[in-house]
């Protein structure tokens, strides 16, 4: 598997994503500058966390027009895997690669561990996980409140595009378990083609016992399993 990690000016989780792929999976990764027009043959593109272009205007709004996004959109249109983590999720939504929008949290900036439940295992990021599996990993964002019209939310639920939900320790989606006011506790979604997945929590920061959780590993193993399938 070769993973291309897009580095925007202001990205700050690209090294963590690189470390996840190279050190934990022992697979290939390449950094892709946002002004490049070549994905270098990557099977999977990761849009990493951070503050691309300073999050000016709206998080992801400017990054969406970075030159490399033309190739990322073409890769996604061909069924190629694109993963958006945190700021990368915001960028993917702004680029209309994913439905909905991520608005300012209802309770300000949140940096804390959360538990998310895997809702569907038929996506490239959850293929090695099981439905109902609960994973603990950190969030660190001020704009992660997933928002869409009620009509769109019903459609997303019906099509099985809600991939991750914030839950409590017992695996129940409660208002208390929702760190940012996301509609229907949504932490991550996929597109209709199921090849683009975005989530606010950081699996790349939950790979080592030293960091408190290794629950992020199964999501990276899912990418590998999907590419090798």
């Amino acid at each position: 598997m070769k993973v291309g990690i897009v580095r925007f000016p202001g990205s700050n989780c690209e090294e963590d994503s690189w470390f996840a792929v190279v050190e934990h999976l022992r697979e290939d990764a390449v950094m892709l500058w946002h002004k490049a027009h070549d994905l270098q043959g990557a099977d999977v593109i990761i849009l990493p966390g951070g503050f691309a272009h300073g999050d000016y205007l709206r998080a992801g709004a400017i990054a969406r027009f970075s030159p490399i996004m033309t190739e990322v959109a073409a890769h996604a249109a061909k069924g190629g895997i694109v993963i958006g983590i945190c700021n990368g999720f915001q960028i993917a939504c702004e680029a209309h690669l994913l439905p909905g929008a991520l608005l300012r949290n209802n309770r300000g900036y949140r940096s804390m561990p959360v538990t998310i439940r895997v809702e569907h295992s038929d996506t490239p990021m959850t293929a090695a996980a099981s439905v109902g599996q609960c994973l603990t990993m950190p969030i660190a964002h001020g704009e992660g409140r997933f928002t869409a019209s009620e009509e769109d939310l019903d459609r997303l639920e019906g099509e099985g595009q809600v991939v991750f939900r914030y839950v409590d320790a017992r695996g129940t989606a409660t208002p208390e378990a929702n760190p940012n006011g996301a509609m229907r506790n949504i932490a991550g979604v996929c597109n209709a083609g199921r090849n683009v997945v975005g989530l606010m929590p950081h699996p790349e920061r939950a790979l080592d016992p030293l960091l408190g959780s290794t629950d992020g590993l199964v999501l990276f193993e899912s990418l590998l399993a999907t590419v090798n399938a």
Binding site: L57, A61, F65, A101, L103, R104, R145, G181
Partner: protein, 84 residues
């Protein structure tokens, strides 16, 4: 001709606006008891060259649709078009 176009971008009504709510709470705390609701948006001023005021308005509308407003969650209005 040169024009100065003012654009207002605001959160769509009905979508939770925590920033507006916090500002509203603060205003009431200061004694502005009659404040009912506050919505915090963005005011963008664009200086541009265009053939006419109508053309400048059309250009600004296209800018809002493509970049300045998020069609999922925000509404925009062209507040003013002035010769610059």
């Amino acid at each position: 001709m040169n024009f100065r176009v003012s654009v207002h971008v605001v959160p769509r009504r009905g979508i939770l606006d925590p920033q507006g709510k916090a500002v509203g709470d603060a205003l009431r705390t200061l004694g502005f008891a009659r404040v009912a609701e506050v919505h915090v948006g963005r005011h963008v001023v664009i200086e541009l060259a265009a053939e006419s005021a109508d053309a400048a308005r059309r250009d600004a509308t296209a800018m809002c649709e493509r970049l300045l407003a998020n069609p999922v969650t925000e509404d925009f209005a062209i507040a003013a078009v002035e010769a610059a």
